[in-house]
C-alpha cells in the first residue's frame, strides 16, 4: 500500500482554481440535477431499465463522435434521442413489453458501440476511448462543451416542470389521463426525450455504464425518504449533486493521497450514491419500526 499517503484532503487550495474542475463542477452538477429529477419520474413509471438502455445506447453516439471528431455531447445526445424515439415508435405500454423493446434496442446500440470503439482505437489517437465513453472522464471535458450542456440541461428541466402533473397522473393509470384529454403517447415520447437528455449528460460525465447510478440511485433513495413528489425531487437533487461534487473533490484529492494515481470520479460518485441508498433503507426501516411500536 505504498501508493497511499497518510494525509487526507491536502489539495483544497488548488481545487477551486483549476479550470478543469470548474467545467467538471458545472457540467457534473447540471447532469446530476437533471438526472435526479428525471430519475424520480423514471422510478415512478417503472422505466429504470429503459433509462439504463438509453445510457448504454448513447455510448454508440459518444464513440461515433470521437471517430468523426464531433463534440461528445452531440454524439451522446443524438444517439440517446434516436433510441428514445425508436422505443416510443414501437409503442409498448406494458412494462414487460417495454423491457423487451428496451433490451432489443440496447443490444443493437451496444453492437454499434463495439464497432465505433474498435474504429476509434484503430483509426484515431483516442487510445483511451473505451474508458472515456463507458466510464467517463470528467476532468477532460472540453470547456467549450459547458455552455451547450447547460442549455440542454435547462431544456430538460423545463420539460420536467411542464410534464410534472401529467406524468404523475399517468403513473396512477394511463386511462385516467386519456379520459382527461391528455395524449399519453405524446407525453411518453416527450418524457423519453427528456430522459435521453439526462442520460446523455450523465453518460458524458460519469460514463455510459455508470450513468444509471446517477439516474436511479438518488431517486430511489429519495422516494424512500419522502412520500411527496416535490420533496422527493428536491432530496434526489441534493443527493445527486452532493455525490457528484463530492466525487469530483475526492477524485481530485485522491491524486495526492494515492501519490499521483488519482482514482476515477465515477467511482466516488457511485459509491456516495450507493451509501445514500443504503442509508435511506436503514432510516425507512427505523421509521416503520417506530410506527409499529406506536401503533
Amino acid at each position: 500500500m505504498a501508493m497511499f499517503s497518510p494525509a487526507i484532503f491536502i489539495t483544497t487550495a488548488g481545487f477551486f482554481h483549476n479550470s478543469a474542475v470548474h467545467v467538471a463542477l458545472a457540467i457534473g452538477g447540471s447532469a446530476a440535477v437533471v438526472s435526479a429529477i428525471v430519475g424520480v419520474f423514471t422510478v415512478l413509471r417503472a422505466q429504470s431499465f429503459a433509462g439504463h438502455a438509453l445510457a448504454d445506447i448513447s455510448s454508440a453516439g459518444g464513440s461515433a463522435a470521437l471517430l468523426f471528431g464531433l463534440p461528445p455531447l452531440v454524439g451522446f445526445l443524438a444517439m440517446a434521442m434516436l433510441a428514445a424515439g425508436g422505443m416510443e415508435v414501437v409503442g409498448a405500454r406494458q412494462i414487460r413489453e417495454r423491457d423487451l423493446v428496451s433490451g432489443v434496442v440496447l443490444g443493437a446500440g451496444l453492437g454499434l458501440t463495439a464497432l465505433f470503439l474498435y474504429l476509434d482505437i484503430s483509426m484515431t489517437t483516442a487510445s483511451n476511448a473505451a474508458n472515456m465513453v463507458m466510464f467517463g472522464s470528467m476532468f477532460t471535458i472540453a470547456p467549450e462543451t459547458m455552455i451547450p450542456a447547460l442549455w440542454v440541461a435547462v431544456l430538460a428541466l423545463v420539460m420536467c416542470v411542464l410534464l410534472y402533473r401529467p406524468l404523475l397522473l399517468i403513473a396512477i393509470d394511463p386511462d385516467l389521463a386519456t379520459i382527461r384529454g391528455l395524449n399519453v403517447r405524446l407525453i411518453g415520447l416527450l418524457y423519453l426525450l427528456t430522459l435521453s437528455i439526462a442520460v446523455a449528460l450523465s453518460a458524458m460525465t460519469i460514463g455510459a455504464i455508470l450513468s444509471t447510478a446517477l439516474l436511479i440511485g438518488p431517486a430511489a433513495a429519495a422516494i424512500r425518504w419522502s412520500c411527496r413528489p416535490g420533496p422527493a425531487i428536491i432530496i434526489a437533487s441534493v443527493i445527486a449533486i452532493s455525490a457528484t461534487w463530492g466525487g469530483i473533490f475526492l477524485a481530485y484529492d485522491s491524486f495526492y493521497w494515492t501519490r499521483n494515481h488519482g482514482w476515477p470520479v465515477s467511482f466516488f460518485i457511485v459509491t456516495i450514491i450507493f451509501l445514500a441508498y443504503l442509508a435511506s433503507g436503514r432510516t425507512t426501516a427505523l421509521a416503520r419500526l417506530r410506527r409499529a411500536i406506536t401503533a
Binding site: 415512478l44 402533473r165 397522473l169 396512477i172 386511462d175 429519495a222 411527496r228
Partner: protein, 263 residues
Amino acid sequence: MLTVDSLSVGFPGNQVLQDVNFHLPQGSFCGLIGTNGSGKTTLLRTILGLVTPDKGKIETGVGGIGYVPQKIQLDPFMPLRARDVVALGIDGHHLGVPLPSPSRRRAVDSMLAEVGATEFANRRVGDLSGGQQQRIMIAHALVRGPRLLLLDEPLANLDIRSVAEVIALLHKLVVEQKITVLLSAHDMNPLLPVMNQIVYLAHGRSVSGAVEEVVRSSVLSSLYGYHIDVIQVHGRVLVVAAVGAEARTTEMAHEPVHVTSIP
C-alpha cells in the same frame, strides 16, 4: 343519466358487444354484472370514449364522467400521498407544477372527508389497504363533481369488510348527491341491497332493468341461450346453468364453477 343505444363493439375476430341497450336515470345505482370476459370493461371503456364503437350511440348528459379503473396497483414506494392522488383528480391534466392554492386544498379536504379518508390523507398511497385505496380512487374520480361515476370491478380483491364499506360509501353518494353509479362486478350479491338497476351481460348481449325483472330464470335463459336457474339461498342469488351445461355462478367470487349436476 346514461343512455346506451344499440351499441356494438368488436375487435378483429371478436365481437365483444352486440346491440347493447339500457337507460339509467339520474341517481341510479346500477350493477353491470357478467362473468369474466363478458364485455363489462369494454362497455365501460366505450362509454368513456377509450374504445370506438362499431355502431350505436351513448349519451351521458351533462356534468362529466368520473372513472375508477380496474386493478389499480400502486407501487408501495410511489411518492404520492393519498391527498396528492385526489388533487390530481382536479388538475392532473394541466401542464406545470401546481402552485399552492387554498381553494384546491379545501376541495381536496372536503372530498377526503366525503369518502371518509381524512384519517389517512397524508399517508403514502401505496401503503394503504385495498379498501382505503378504493376510497381514494373514488375521491379522485368525484373531486371535479361529475354526475356519472363508472367503476370497473372496484370490489375485486377486497376483503368482505372493505366490500361492505365501499358499497355503503357509493350508496351514500348516490342518495346524497344524486350521482349515477355504474359499477361492474361478477358477483351481484353484495350489491343487492343498494342497486336499483342492473345491466346483465352475457355473450356480448345484455338485458337491463330493475333487479327483480332481470334476475329471473326466463330472462337469463333467453340471454344465455340455454336454461338458467335462478336460486335464492339465505337471501343470496345463485345463477346456475342447467344440468349438463356449463354452469356459472355469479355468486362466486372469482372463477366460474363447472358442475354436471345440481343436488
